[in-house]
Symmetry: C2
Subunit: 349 residues, 2 copies
C-alpha cells in the first residue's frame, strides 16, 4: 500500500518521526505492506516544501538542523500548512495522511484544530501528537472525520507512545470506561520526586530545565495546563465528555509543594499531581488535575521521575492500569507511527 504523508510542524517530534520512519522502513513494508513517502513539510521557522514524488529527507534534515530554510518562504500564522495539505489532497497514493506536530496552544488549541479540519476537508486522514484538537474540539473533529470516512488519531497526545486511546479502541471493545486516574505530566512528577527527597522547588525546576526535561517557560507544566489538556482529551474520548482544558478543575504545584511532598513521604505516602475524571450522577463528567497524597500501595504513588501511568476504571474488567517507565521524543514519534499503521489497517484497500 502506497502512503503519502504531509508533515505540518517539523520540530523535534516531527524530525524524530522522519528518522524513525527511515529506521523502520523494512519492517513497515514486510509486516504491514506499507511504503511511505513524505511529499510535503510545513514548518514554523524554516519555510515549507512540497515534492510530489517524495522529499529528500536527509537533505531536509540537514538544512533544518543547519538553520537554513527548506526552499519556500513562509511566516506565521500561515506556516505553509494549506499548501502541503493541498498537495497531499492531490496525491494518487492509496492512503493520504497528514502528520500534525505543532505545539499545544493552551488558549484555544489553534492553529492545530484548523490544520486537522483542513486535512479532513481535503480527504486526508489525520494523525497528530498535539493535545489541542482532542482537548478542545474532539466531538466536532470526530464527527467530521466520520462523515468523510476518514480517521483522526492522536495516540501521542497522552503518555507518548504508550497505547491509551488505541488500547481502549482496539482491545477493550463492548465495555464502558467509568472514569480514570493518572500521572500524565513528567516534569511535575520529576519535581515532586526530587522535592520528597529534600530538594526545593526552584533548584529542582532549574536542574530539570538544564537537563532539557522542563521547558524554558515551565508554566504549562507546573501550573497543570499540560495535564489538564491531557485530561480533557482523555475525558472527551473515553467518557464522551465535551470538555476543554479550561473546564478541568486545575491546581498546579509550586514552592509550597515541597513541604507537602516531604510531609507525605514521612508518613509513607506520596504527593503526586493526579489527573482524573469520572461521570457523575446526571451523566456529566467532572475532571480535575491536582496534587493528591497517595497511600503506599497506590500505583500512581510509586511513579518516580519520567514514569507515567493511567488507571482506567471499567464496568467489566475492574481497574486496568498501563504504565510507562520513561517517555520522550522517540516514544512520541512512535505514537505517530503506530497511529499510521492503525489507519492503514482500518482503511486497507
Amino acid at each position: 500500500m502506497h502512503v503519502d504523508l504531509a508533515l505540518v510542524g517539523f520540530g523535534s517530534v516531527g524530525r524524530r518521526f522522519v528518522r524513525l520512519l527511515g529506521e523502520r522502513r523494512d519492517r513497515l513494508c514486510r509486516d504491514h505492506g506499507l511504503e511511505c513517502r513524505i511529499i510535503g513539510i510545513a514548518t514554523r521557522r524554516h519555510g515549507w516544501s512540497v515534492a510530489r514524488d517524495g522529499i529528500n529527507l536527509s537533505d531536509v534534515l540537514a538544512r533544518v538542523e543547519a538553520g537554513l530554510a527548506l526552499g519556500l518562504p513562509n511566516g506565521p500564522p500561515a506556516l505553509g500548512a494549506s499548501d502541503v495539505i493541498s498537495a497531499l489532497s492531490r496525491s494518487a497514493a492509496d492512503l493520504r495522511v497528514m502528520i500534525e506536530t505543532t505545539t499545544l496552544n493552551i488558549a484555544d488549541g489553534q492553529p492545530a484544530i484548523a490544520h486537522v479540519e483542513a486535512a479532513l476537508d481535503a480527504g486526508c486522514h489525520v494523525v497528530t501528537a498535539n493535545k489541542g484538537p482532542a482537548a478542545f474540539a474532539y466531538r466536532r473533529l470526530r464527527d467530521r472525520a466520520a462523515a468523510n470516512g476518514l480517521s483522526f488519531l492522536f495516540e501521542g497526545a497522552v503518555m507518548d507512545g504508550i497505547p491509551v486511546f488505541n488500547l481502549v479502541r482496539e482491545t477493550m471493545p463492548a465495555i464502558d470506561i467509568i472514569g480514570f486516574r493518572g500521572v500524565v505530566n513528567s516534569t511535575t512528577n520529576h519535581i515532586l520526586s526530587a522535592m520528597e527527597d529534600g530538594e526545593e522547588f526552584q533548584p529542582a525546576l532549574t536542574r530539570m530545565q538544564a537537563e532539557g526535561i522542563a521547558e524554558a517557560d515551565p508554566s504549562l507544566d507546573v501550573d497543570g495546563w499540560d495535564a489538564a489538556a491531557k485530561t480533557a482529551a482523555l475525558a472527551n474520548v473515553l467518557l464522551d465528555a465535551d470538555l476543554t482544558p479550561h473546564g478541568v478543575d486545575r491546581v498546579g504545584i509550586g514552592p509550597a509543594s515541597a513541604s507537602a511532598a516531604r510531609a507525605a513521604k514521612a508518613q509513607g505516602r506520596r504527593l503526586r499531581l493526579v489527573a482524573s475524571a469520572a461521570r457523575i450522577p446526571g451523566g456529566t463528567v467532572r475532571a480535575a488535575v491536582r496534587p493528591i497524597e497517595l497511600p503506599p500501595d497506590d500505583i500512581l504513588g510509586r511513579l518516580r521521575g519520567m514514569a507515567n501511568a493511567l488507571i482506567l476504571s471499567t464496568d467489566v474488567l475492574g481497574d486496568v492500569a498501563i504504565t510507562q517507565s520513561s517517555g520522550g521524543l522517540t516514544q512520541t514519534a512512535y505514537a505517530l507511527l503506530s497511529d499510521l499503521i492503525a489507519i492503514a489497517r482500518m482503511h486497507h484497500a
Copy 2:
C-alpha cells in the same frame, strides 16, 4: 454479521461467557454489527447438544445447573467436541467460531490442542481461554490457522480479560518485545501476601480454598505450573520461542516461603512469584518462574492478592506495564468476547 458459535467445554467460564453474551447483546449489535448464536455445546459431564438454528440458552443453563444432561449422551474423552465442531462447520453464518474453555492439562495440553486443530481443519476460527494450545503448540496452531485464513486467539489464557496478546498485536506494531516479567498467578500472590502479613502457608492455602480462590488440588498453582504455562504461552507468542511449560525453569512456593516472605518485608522488599523470559545471546529464549525478592519501587512488588501485572520490555517504548486490580470469571469470559470481536474486525465481510 451473523456469527455462529460452538462451545467446547461448558464449566464456569463457558457459562459466564454465555451470560455475558446475553448481557452485551445490544452492544455487540449496535457497536460491532454482530448477531451471535450458539449452535452447539459440548461438555465433559453433561453430554452435548446441537441446534442449527440456535440453542435455547436459558434452558441449557438451567439443565446444567440442575445437574441434568443436555440431551445427547457422551463420555470422556469424546466430549462431543467433534460433533459440535462438525455442526459448526456446516453453518452458513458469516463467521464460524469455536469457543474452547476446557481446563488445562499440564502434561501435554490435550485434548484442547486437538479441539483447536479440529476446528481449524473444519474452517472455523478458534477462541480459547485454555493456556494449553499456546503453551504447548503455538507455532503449529498459528501456522495451521494462517494456512487456512483463520484466526486462533487466546487472550483469556493470561491475566484473564486484560489485554496482553491483543495489546501487543493491535497497538504495538513494528516494535520488538525483548523480554517480560510478570506476576500472573493469583493464588500464589494471595498466599505470599498473606504470609508476609504473618500467616503460615497451610492456613493461608486452606483459607483460599474455602474462599474458592485456590483449587482443591492446589499443586498447579503453588508448584508454579499455572505460571509456567502462561510464561510459555507469552514467550511463544511475544518472543517467538518454541517452549512448553516443561521447558520453563520452575520453582514454586511452599511452607518455607513464609519466613522468606516475612524476611523480605522486614527489609522493605517483597517476595513474589515472578514469571519472566528474555532472548539470550544466540537467539534462544530463556524462561523462568520463581519466587524473587523485589525492591520497594518494583511494580510487581506492590501487587497484593488478586492483582496481576506484566511488564513488557521493548526496543522502542522502553518498559510498558499493564496491571489488573482483580481477576475472575467475568474477566476471563470477557477475554473470549474481546477475541470474538477482534476476529469479526479482522475478517469482516
